[in-house]
């Protein structure tokens, strides 16, 4: 299996501050729409006890990217390190990739009439730096990792969370450290 970079998100650490969203916008001076990275809140009733947890998601640089398959202009390429790159210069704004991605991550920029998405700060990675969202995450909830079997075999690593599409569709390169349930103590 070739190298596959991806994100590891720790929902235990994430406080939903949206610093990663802002860092991404700052780095690339993105318009208000689209949002390359977005913080979501899990439904409180998805767990046995009411739980307030967040997760942050950008493009998942999937192992089987649907965006790449459907794109008629070859605007998408997958690098040897697994990063899925979108070239806006080739994009003609057909929006087929926005329909095909179950995570809604390629998004149309209404001003430019082209699709945009996270390219995993490949320029920074090539220089040996971490992506801007990872750097900006104050609690250290977001990490850049290599997705492989040894990671998946570690205790507590999840391939999905409640409220996310099945990973079987595109095999996303993101892993989660899920929220652990605390004890509910009743004071009678």
């Amino acid at each position: 299996m070739s190298k596959q970079l991806g994100f590891l998100h720790n929902s235990e650490k994430c406080v939903g501050c949206r610093g990663c969203e802002i860092a991404c916008k700052n780095e690339y001076q993105i318009d208000a729409i689209p949002q390359w990275r977005k913080v979501f809140q899990l439904h409180e009733d998805d767990f046995s006890l009411p739980t307030r947890m967040f997760f942050s998601m950008a493009c998942n640089h999937c192992a089987n990217p649907e965006c790449l398959r459907v794109c008629p202009v070859k605007a998408y390429t997958k690098r040897a390190d697994g990063i899925v790159i979108h070239d806006p210069n080739r994009c003609i704004g057909c929006r087929l990739c926005t329909m095909a991605c179950p995570y809604d991550r390629p998004q149309i920029n209404p001003a430019k009439r082209k699709v945009e998405k996270c390219n995993l700060c490949y320029q920074r990675i090539d220089k040996g730096e971490a992506p801007s969202c990872v750097t900006a995450c104050i609690p250290g909830a977001l990490e850049l990792v290599e997705i492989n079997d040894s990671l998946d075999q570690k205790t507590g690593i999840l391939k999905t969370l409640p409220g996310l599409p099945s990973p079987n569709i595109t095999t996303p390169s993101i892993r989660f450290i899920g929220p652990t349930q605390g004890k509910q103590i009743r004071r009678d």
């Binding site: 439904h43 008629p72 003609i92 929006r95 095909a100 179950p102």
Partner: protein, 300 residues
Amino acid sequence: MGDWEWPLIIFTVFGQIAIGIILMLWWLNRNRDLESNLFRQGVYVSGGLLIVALLASLFHLGHPEAAYRALAHLGSSWLSREILLFLLTFLAWIYLFWQSRQQKSSRVHGSVATTITTAQTAVGEQLIENRSLGLGITSVLGLLGIVSSAMIYVMPRVPAWNNVGPVLFFLLTTVLLGALCTLVLGRKLLQTAQKKRLLQASLGCTILSLLVYVIYASMLSISIEGSASLNFLLSSPLFWVRALLGWFAPLFLLVSMLKNSQVNKTNLILTVTLLAALGEVLGRALFYLSAIGIQITALF
């Protein structure tokens, strides 16, 4: 939930009518006895529709001026394949157009001549053979283009599309509207038996379309997103208007026309064609509107 994708509605429906007409002309010409005027009219109308369809498709793009790049990913993108096949269909149509002009000029020369020579007969037969070949090639390329169009929508993210439904819907629209529009064009030129065949084909397509939709709808409830699409359809007044205009009214009229030997009644032919066309346009709008994709359901 999808949007009113007017450029795509016009592109798919008009493109399918155009190819449907060519397909019907090919079928009517199976004994090499297609009326020349009908051939010419059919070629002109289908060409006009094909041009409108191709132009409309550009308006779907954010950057229509770069549409030529859509041919770049034939290896895996059905959209690239669709564009290629529609362009080839258009090239084949140009050949048909040229044939129709040849036919016209040969008839003008023929009318001046007092006697028809063996050479002229041979030229005429060759023209008919070329016409048949052109119709066949255009039909096959067009049908492949339509299948490619449908395959664009077969994607795992949208359960309402991720099945054989889009291919069947698109092909049924092609044959149904192709047969009815050919009937309209040939209402004064076709023989009664030919009209009857076209009406029977239309009736068959309408019944099949209704049956396929019932099976399709029953399959939608398997997934959450499919159920949401089904609920949207059943609660939308547009769907019931589509059912009335596109299925029930044409069904009633077609049965009545065939049963009461009213196949030559122009008013009825025009009415049933108009109703079926409106039904198909609404059906295509609903196809896009009812597309509900698998997505993140966490809170924003």
